[in-house]
Amino acid sequence: MRRGTVHAIVGENGAGKSTLMNILYGMYRPDEGTISIDGEPVVLHSPADAIERGIGMVHQHFMLADNFTVLENVVLGSEPRKGPALDFAGARAKIREISRRYGLDVDPDDLLEALGVGDRQRVEILKVLYRGARTLILDEPTAVLVPQEVDELFDALRELKGEGLSIIFISHKLDEVLSVADDITVIRRGTTVATADPRSVTARELAELMVGSELPSPQTTGSTVTDVVELAVEGLSVVDAEGRALLSDIGFEIHRGEVLGIAGVEGNGQAELTEALMGIRPVATGTIHLGTVDITGWSTRRRREAGIGFVPEDRIRQGLLLESPLWENRMLGHQTQPPNSRGPLIDRHAARVDTERIVAEYDVRTPSVDVLASALSGGNQQKLVVGREMSGNPTLLIASHPTRGVDVGAQAAIWDLIRAARREGLAVLLISADLDELIGLSDTISVILRGRFVATVDPHDVTPEQLGSAMTGAQDAA
């Protein structure tokens, strides 16, 4: 790659993008091949080597300590000293300086825990810039950002590029790639399959290069909405331990056969909403009706038994037992329901058989249902979770980012399954950061901001950009 350019790497899930970057960053050692910097071959033993050679990396997953301040997160590993002590004042000044120069506004003394995703992303970039990196690796930095934030990030990238920094940029969002990249490399199953010129290639062509086949897209196929209300939420509010409102006065209805999409920047109450609906988080005020039954006071288990399926936002934390075999994971959340259990006993055989079914139906790539969940790739784990939650004919599905981390092929399959179930009368609450997915699947979209519903839009006549500005509250000002 050339100095002072943005070089995009694209490829489907598991193509080896992150792995390649981790090698460049010294985290893994290559089996063969060489890395050259400024024409000089180097061997990188550790991230420290990479940092020393001016390589900085923003990882696909945040690499931050929640309990530290921004300052501590940024200077860690390259601390300025004053005598034996850490030079807090100096670090603070330098961080402010860099934030100002690249328009990355963060207060060095904030506790990281209190920051949202956008700020966290900025902290990650600050970390790299603070070390004076000349080569930046950004692994899917935009996955969690709204369009406006993406634009700001790109402005910053162009700024950096202007100063002669080289940037490796990884994203699944091909339009972003096309807008920011100077060069594009497509990789598949660990090898380079193509290089492309962003000025001449279209998103569609690029996608086909990635998967080697036609690109699916989410599309609503006519409305299946009925008049029967499946879920009715009224005046719902949730407060945290200190009594601050996390959700205030949320109200909506989902009919059978309807998909209600929730759009919003991460951290605006989506997680709290799903948890309140699932009974994981206590409700301060308001009622929840499933059909005609008031389930506000029900336990999570009872709600699940009543036919609510739940695809959690964070599959590792909430959706899976990584150290357990797949068939046990299939039981998770449905351990009281057939075919997994009979009375107080579990039915291992039936659970296994049903897991085989899910593996087949949802194309979970695994040699057997006895391997541990940790052995599966992220996308396959997600497919298992979705398959599990769609089992047993739920009447309501609460799905957070159901296709996050899933490759395009599987994504299409999941969309199809959701659509099919919707035709059968499934009510869906869909939360997604992928605005195309939201627009394509939902019958209605509500926008959540600071724990409130601020707008309801019709997916048929809204663009991602419009949604994005509603999500950030830009419309309020207007």
Binding site: S18, N22, P47, F68, D105, L115, D240
Partner: protein
Amino acid sequence: MTTQLQVPSPPPVGAVQEPTSRLARLATWQKLLMYGLAFLALLSLVRVVSGAAQLTSSGTAEAALIAAIPIGLAGLAGLWSERAGVVNIGLEGMMILGTFGAGWIGWQYGPWPGVVAAIGFGVFGGLIHAVATVTFGVDHIVSGVAINILGLGITQYLAGTFLTGTPGGGSKQSPPIANIGSVSVPGLPNALESIEDRQWFFVSDLAGIVRGLTTSVNYLTIIAIVLVIATFFVLWRTPFGLRLRSCGEAPYAAESLGVNVYLYKYVAVLISGALSGLGGAYLAIVAASNYRDGQTAGRGFIGLAAMIFGNWRPGGLAAGAGLFGYTDGLQLRDNTAVHALLLLAALLCLVGLVVLLIRRRWFGALLTAIFGAGALIWYLGTDTLPPQLTSATPYVTTLVVLALASQRLRMPKADGLIYRRGAGH
């Protein structure tokens, strides 16, 4: 997750925040000081009413200090290890190794070489723990339990081999170790003594406590207190400390920034071993003056409790060790003073009652009122407590305080988790 919004709009002016936070911190200090003084006033009141002079005497303060230091050192040892993400339940075993090291070398070559040997023995225990947990990724609790067994076995075995037939020693104890020496603040003790003897409300109590803490203070005591402060400075104010703590909070983030997590974990666990060993040395050299089999008596576990009590912070653990040391010293010194603690409990309930009534927490208020009344009736209706109950004071107090404080303790996020290089991606 909070609902905080990331509006990519006007930058909050960072500079404004700094003075506020510093002011806030100052205010906390003041608040703490005020709470402390208020508590002392209450204690003083109880002393005046009950006549239990030992509640705030210099002797009690001194006893509390001596009882608290080994526990505090064990807690500090736990703190270092857990701040780097390694749970150390093997503190007791490492402490036992320390007592033996101190006794075995101390009686032959003097107390200071004994201290060094104790630290060395503790480090040996730490090394086993580090190899097992850091290198081999064994469950931290398992390794700690094994070290407790090993520490006891090794010392008993070695004591049988090396101490049998020593002058005044035997397979269960070492010969006496020479005194390590102590200092007093010149002039102060005498001045304070006269004030303490007056038995004035509050003033005498304060004088007694200060006197107890400043009179013929052992060198190892001073070292231990310095270590608590130094721990704060090193862990929270230096690059080394930041890196070490990052291993306990987010090891993979640390790794991605070039921090050698294994190295820091090793260093932390070895320091943990050294501090445990020092705690053992304190027991053998200062609290007693020889090694004696069984001398640690579970203080390593209490140290662990003090660390959790103190929210994985040096100041907090010092407070936890101090509370335990105070109640333990008090119950050993004076039965009647423990009886007077019932009155203190009743008064504290009264304070709590007022607070709860103001906050309109009726149920809590009712419970507090019942407990307070119970304590008062018990106090008025008896002159002494059964000795078994007296002896239980430190344990009961710790449990009650923990149950009431209901503070949101927060352990390092990656504490106890197995770290493997490159596994975080």
